[in-house]
Subunit: 341 residues, 2 copies
């Protein structure tokens, strides 16, 4: 096989506050020959997730990415060459790959190396049926324990996880209130996504609006942003409320430089007999197949919309991750490199 050129983005420095383009360094190299047990993957599309901010900074549920190494991302790719028995050239695979044209993988790691059905849409696999949608699914149903008649509030509501969480809660018969930034996102929530109400945090007093839209208090608050909005929600819990903390918030807070901050209204958990519970989607890995089946069905039936914010081209990867933390993205942020062949 002819030597393949590989273009890459390396992690250059650990970010301080918001991620900057200069935190990454462009590199061009050659793909090394494969060893037994490895596959060579051509990357087709990358997922962008708030948790990547953590990978760049500190050891979390996985070790921090070493400086000078390729930036990691949830990705879908296509096998170019395989020295693993279960994979063949042309197979579509999903896993934790890198910001590069080609990734050599031996499987293992947090996300493994999962073979996808041949007709898989990489975009769908990385959004509604990827960690984004799965986080919404388990956060809403298993952690949040939503039930008919609950008042369900979600922040980051126009984002990839928040919008799906709200649509799932709606299917379950909740009154759904979303908090998002700007009139376009809020219009989309109520007109397209089926939310009962939307609060524009850029143009409204969020506390007053929550009080107005949640006259019986908040039964489930799905937190995607932390910070002041978490405190405003904590202050308005109904008795027996559930506050769902998903992985995103720590990274948002870290990016905003407020990692040392805790929610002062956590006392209200006592008065309301309420709970605040965290999770990582990986805790539910054994139940992914049932969730993917459910989400696929709801998507096919039009009950869940899959809003995508798609950027093209490897060279734009740093610009694209920055969109996540400035609120520029509207829907699941993805970057596409190529179509399957």
């Amino acid at each position: 096989m002819a030597e393949l050129k590989n273009r890459q983005w390396l992690l250059a420095v650990r970010p301080q506050g918001l991620i900057k383009e200069s935190d990454f360094r462009w590199n061009e190299t050659a793909v090394a020959p494969l060893n037994d047990g490895q596959v060579l993957i051509r990357n087709l599309a990358f997922s962008f997730d708030p948790t990547q901010r953590g990978w760049m900074s500190i050891d979390t549920y996985m070790p921090a990415i070493p400086l000078g190494e390729v930036m990691k991302a949830g990705a879908v790719g296509q096998v170019v060459e395989s020295r693993r028995p279960e994979l063949a050239t042309g197979d579509l695979v999903q896993g934790l790959f890198g910001w590069e044209d080609y990734t050599v993988s031996a499987g293992g790691g947090l996300m493994g190396l999962r073979k996808l059905p041949p007709d898989t849409d990489p975009i769908l696999a990385l959004s509604l049926l990827g960690t984004t949608g799965l986080t919404a699914y388990f956060g809403t149903l298993s952690v949040g324990q939503v039930k008919q008649g609950d008042t369900f509030v979600v922040s980051g509501a126009a984002g990839a996880t928040g919008s799906v969480a709200g649509m799932i809660a709606k299917i379950k018969g909740c009154r759904v209130v979303g908090i998002a930034g700007g009139p376009d996102k809020c219009d989309w929530l109520t007109r397209e996504a089926g939310f009962d109400a939307a609060i524009d945090y850029k143009n409204e007093n969020v506390g007053d609006a929550l009080t107005r839209h949640c006259s019986k208090g908040i039964d489930v608050y799905f937190d995607n942003v932390g910070g002041e909005i978490l405190d405003l929600a904590l202050a308005r819990l109904a008795n027996g409320a559930r506050v769902v903390l998903c992985g995103a918030i720590s990274r948002y807070n870290e990016a905003a430089g407020v990692a040392g901050w805790g929610p002062k209204n956590y006392f209200n958990l006592i008065f309301r007999g309420a709970r605040m519970e965290g999770f990582l989607v990986f805790h539910f890995a054994k139940r992914y197949p049932e969730a993917i089946d459910d989400l696929t069905r709801c998507y096919a039936e039009g009950q869940i919309k899959n809003k995508i914010d798609l950027v093209q081209g490897l060279e734009n990867a740093p610009k694209t991750i920055i969109r996540l933390f400035t609120g520029a993205n509207f829907g699941k942020q993805l970057l596409k490199l190529a179509d399957p062949q």
Copy 2:
């Protein structure tokens, strides 16, 4: 009936920081004649609870005590005169009475007016079998969901609720670690109360000691103090951990002037798939009888010790409540006025 003199402590000012004796004002008055539906109660003993700090300050789960009115307390008394059909002179009753010789009650309110069996020990009714022991019972079993083999950590461990919580966890087969202030309390925990280990926060680095005593992480943390120790525990949670927030902590924090503070390590709930859940003992009111039966049996069998810190005389009530917040009390803080007749 001859006119009875009533000595009282009124709430004079709302406390700033720690409670001071000057927050109360001594008053002497006459007991008013009874109306239909009322009973006249001679107070025998008062309970002292951190939550009283809240009653003095702000509307919580009940309205703040108005300035100039009698300070309230959980109490046991004896009926002197009754204009209620279900109560007769000589009956022992428990409820939310006042810091005064005689209280006129029409029942109702948060704690009601509960008739006790004639052979009841007022001291036991206000400690192990009162809100203190019940808080430990429901916090450990229903909220904390302790199970065999769990590592159970409790702060304020030599206090009334903390010590009972630890002893219940021990009965359930947990490894029990208590955090308390000073060698006397710590010795009592390991020698008398059956704790596996005690950490003296006044003389040890609590974080290091928690790491040493909880090598597999903390499965259940029963929080009685909030503040820095809550953060140290949050940083050391095991996967799937439960953090129990009981009413006490808000009042302790308020007394220390740190009500605006939140636990910065709450993010660890996400990484550990853990929950932090609050409760007030009143949420479990329907299950009090089963809990009292259980606690009575464990006490009779010697599995649970009931450590009491007893002060005598109404005139000492303000001094006694202050003991709670300075850590001076060792065991359940009570004040005795008289024996039943």
